[in-house]
């Protein structure tokens, strides 16, 4: 935004987290939190990270709900696979993505890696293809369609 406060959203988040962490709004903690809120985004700018921009809070909520449901489901699936590993077929799956926003891709990488059973392996910025590793590909499940259908649209809505 400005030179000294490049990302008010990030600053506010840092201050809020600091105060929650210390569970106090005493002047000292406020001052410390403000210091972190001020310095943090400046450091972030040096890293060339695009300032966080959230559009469509509705889509953010829908994505969060979807991710929670998927993580619970894949926890159960992977727990079953660990206890009974017969017939498991792991493998790499390439997925061509239309999503190009760096923050959107970062979010997708975290979601895919955090969910048990899938992990982000590599991304080719040239043609936008991401390769994920899947613990059990299954018989005829189209992982590319699943990932694209469930997350890509929402992420593009939020970040592009």
């Amino acid at each position: 935004m400005t030179r000294w406060l490049p990302s008010p959203l990030a600053s506010a988040t840092l201050i809020a987290i600091w105060l929650l962490l210390n569970q106090s709004v005493s002047p000292g903690q406020l001052l410390l939190g403000a210091l972190f809120g001020f310095v943090g985004p400046l450091l972030l700018r040096r890293l060339d990270v695009p300032p966080p921009r959230m559009r469509r809070p509705g889509a953010v909520l829908r994505l969060a709900g979807l991710v929670i449901v998927d993580i619970v489901r894949s926890n159960i699936n992977v727990a079953r696979l660990i206890l009974r590993p017969e017939g498991r077929r792991p493998g790499f799956v390439p997925i061509p993505l239309k999503l190009r926003a760096p923050l959107g891709l970062a979010t997708l990488a975290c979601v895919i890696t955090a969910a048990p059973g899938t992990a982000w392996v590599s991304y080719d910025p040239g043609d936008g293809t991401v390769v994920i590793h899947v613990l059990n590909i299954g018989e005829d499940e189209d992982w590319a369609a699943i990932i694209k259908g469930r997350y890509e649209g929402l992420l593009m809505e939020i970040f592009e």
């Binding site: 987290i17 929650l20 962490l21 569970q23 993580i71 619970v72 926890n75 992977v78 727990a79 696979l81 660990i82 206890l83 590993p85 077929r89 792991p90 493998g91 790499f92 990488a109 975290c110 979601v111 890696t113 955090a114 969910a115 048990p116 059973g117 899938t118 992990a119 982000w120 392996v121 590599s122 390769v131 590793h133 613990l135 590909i137």
Partner: protein
């Protein structure tokens, strides 16, 4: 453990179930770490503990400390936030390092391979 005496039985059972569920998931994840043979498979195992496992333990903690009114449950939310944000980043870094090493050693796992990693 102050406040434990004042906790009603149903709350004790709820907290106990959540704690056992969370630690059970962490245990299953650790078993997976031992059982899986390739690195790319092992990446999936600890996420059990870091997602639903952590969530169950945190819910148990929230339930316990809210019902005994010993302190607010803000810290659990923050722990959840930090774990959710940092674990995938760590795993991503590990995978990148492994891919890099595999490629240096001339066995790119992505070069034309469908199964068997």
């Amino acid at each position: 453990m102050n406040g434990l005496q004042t906790l009603p039985a149903w709350a004790e059972i709820l907290v106990a179930i959540l704690v056992v569920l969370g630690s059970g998931l962490a245990l299953i994840g650790s078993i997976g770490l031992v059982r899986f043979r390739s690195f790319y498979e092992r990446v999936h195992a600890p996420t059990l503990g870091s997602t639903l496992g952590t969530a169950s333990i945190l819910l148990a903690s929230i339930a316990f400390f809210s019902l005994t009114r010993t302190r607010p449950f803000v810290h659990e939310l923050l722990i959840g936030l930090f774990v959710t944000v940092t674990t995938p980043v760590t795993l991503l870094m590990l995978v990148q390092a492994t891919i890099y090493r595999d490629r240096l050693e001339g066995r790119d796992p992505l070069a034309r391979r469908e199964d068997e990693s």
